[in-house]
């Protein structure tokens, strides 16, 4: 039997076992609203039937943290995001709120990010810093720093429950292809690609960790491990370090392309920002 097929069938068996043990509560409901945590895989993801949110792979105690906006520790950072949204910063004497009267106006933005503008792939972080530097006359925020993650969490929250729907055709096609290549490319001392774990072996235990599909529908995510919000690029960097590869730059072309590809692999999943993960 071909190795890949064998690994896939092992993964399916492993995943079924993994999911069965976690079967007790597979409904994510937040503040009374049910959020779906799985969907049919997009057509281009040939090796997947169903896409599953990372929420399903965590223990019940962790999952329950995401089901209440107070128990969810991310919300103290969302509160910081609100403060930042209203804070005047920069030479122009403006706050985000000066132009964007209501943060709720950002509904629908998160599910479509990243997107192509004038031939360049832009992420939400890029949009925020572009506003800051070009319209507020303010210093750009560190790509994965506390202020930026607080803001992207606040903006992403406005689209919570909406289906991810990033464009992968037209102008986005070359970036999508680049991201796909990166996803399947083996790197590092451990010579592994994203797909080795997240496509071939999701559902299986790696030591005591329950491997997910590596979906990014919940980012920025509050991780129990570092007790703060983590951007997708920060997580990519961590993963690359774990396989002993030199990580690409956060905010750089590779991670942006990878973010587009991963977002697309999760097309159909719901925005869970800000999620709680391990």
């Amino acid at each position: 039997m071909e190795l890949k097929t064998l690994l896939t069938s092992v993964a399916i068996v492993g995943f079924s076992a993994g999911l069965v043990s976690a079967q007790a509560d597979v409904t994510l409901a937040v503040e009374g609203e049910v959020i779906s945590t799985s969907a049919s895989a997009p057509a281009f993801a040939e090796n997947l039937d169903t896409v599953y949110s990372g929420w399903l792979f965590r223990k019940l105690e962790t999952r329950s943290l995401q089901m209440d906006d107070f128990d969810n520790p991310a919300f103290v950072f969302v509160d910081k995001g609100i403060d930042l949204f209203e804070k005047v910063d920069g030479t122009e004497g403006k706050a985000c709120a000066s132009c964007h009267e209501d943060v709720e106006d950002f509904v629908g933005l998160r599910p479509a990010m990243p997107r192509v503008e004038d031939g360049t792939l832009v992420t939400m972080e890029n949009l925020v810093n572009e506003c800051r530097t070009e319209r507020m006359g303010a210093e750009p925020w560190k790509y994965s720093g506390g202020q930026m993650t607080a803001m992207t969490a606040l903006i992403g929250l406005q689209s919570r429950g909406m289906s991810i729907n990033v464009a992968v055709d037209g102008d986005a096609a070359p970036f999508f292809e680049r991201g796909k290549d990166l996803y399947y490319q083996r790197v590092g001392q451990l010579d592994m690609s994203c797909s080795n774990c997240h496509e071939d072996n999701y559902g299986v235990m790696i030591r005591a960790d329950h491997l997910s599909q590596g979906q990014i529908n919940g980012f920025p995510a509050y991780r129990l491990k570092n007790a703060k919000l983590n951007s997708a690029h920060a997580r990519f960097k961590g993963c690359m370090k774990n396989i002993r590869a030199t990580p690409y730059k956060e905010g750089g072309d590779e991670f942006k392309a990878l973010e587009l590809y991963l977002a697309a692999r999760g097309n159909g999943l719901s925005v869970e920002t800000p999620s709680v993960r391990n």
């Binding site: 965590r58 223990k59 105690e61 962790t62 943290l65 520790p73 235990m205 790696i206 030591r207 005591a208 960790d209 491997l211 991780r223 129990l224 491990k225 570092n226 007790a227 961590g238 993963c239 774990n242 396989i243 391990n278």
Partner: protein, 140 residues
């Protein structure tokens, strides 16, 4: 009996051994010290207090725990396997609505978490739970 040197040595070491078993105090752990400081040496009995903690912690950095002891004046939480066992002490005031508290704690490794309640009548109760703390796959 003829007290040869051998006899005396044998009797002496025997007596010493007996004294060790009977009189010498066991080497007290840090947890025992912390509990003794809280109880002032009063004996602790099991029961009358509930401790809720996960069997396996998703991540040792943030482990949700809850304690409840109706009739308690204060409850002390200890992590017996941490470098310093003391975790928190809940002291209930006159307007406390119950003798319950929940929080999130750090556990350095698999260990017993212990809760000691000081009751209104001056007695002390104990509950414990073993929490497994694991290492994630990619060192994460």
């Amino acid at each position: 009996m003829d007290f040869t040197r051998r006899n005396i040595l044998a009797i002496g070491s025997g007596a010493f051994a007996v004294a060790s078993v009977a009189g010498m105090p066991a080497f007290a752990s840090k947890t025992d010290d912390a509990i003794a400081a809280f109880t002032g040496g009063v004996g602790v009995t099991e029961g009358g207090i509930d401790l809720t903690a996960p069997e396996i912690a998703e991540n040792g950095n943030t482990v949700p725990v809850a304690v409840s002891a109706p009739g308690a004046v204060s409850i002390m939480l200890l992590a017996t396997g941490n470098p310093t066992p003391a975790v928190a002490t809940f002291n209930f005031g006159s307007l406390a609505g119950s003798r319950r508290g929940s929080t999130r704690i750090r556990l350095a490794k698999t260990q017993d978490v212990v809760a000691i309640a000081k009751m209104e009548d001056g007695t002390f109760r104990r509950a414990g739970a073993t929490v497994k703390v694991t290492i994630g796959g990619c060192g994460g």
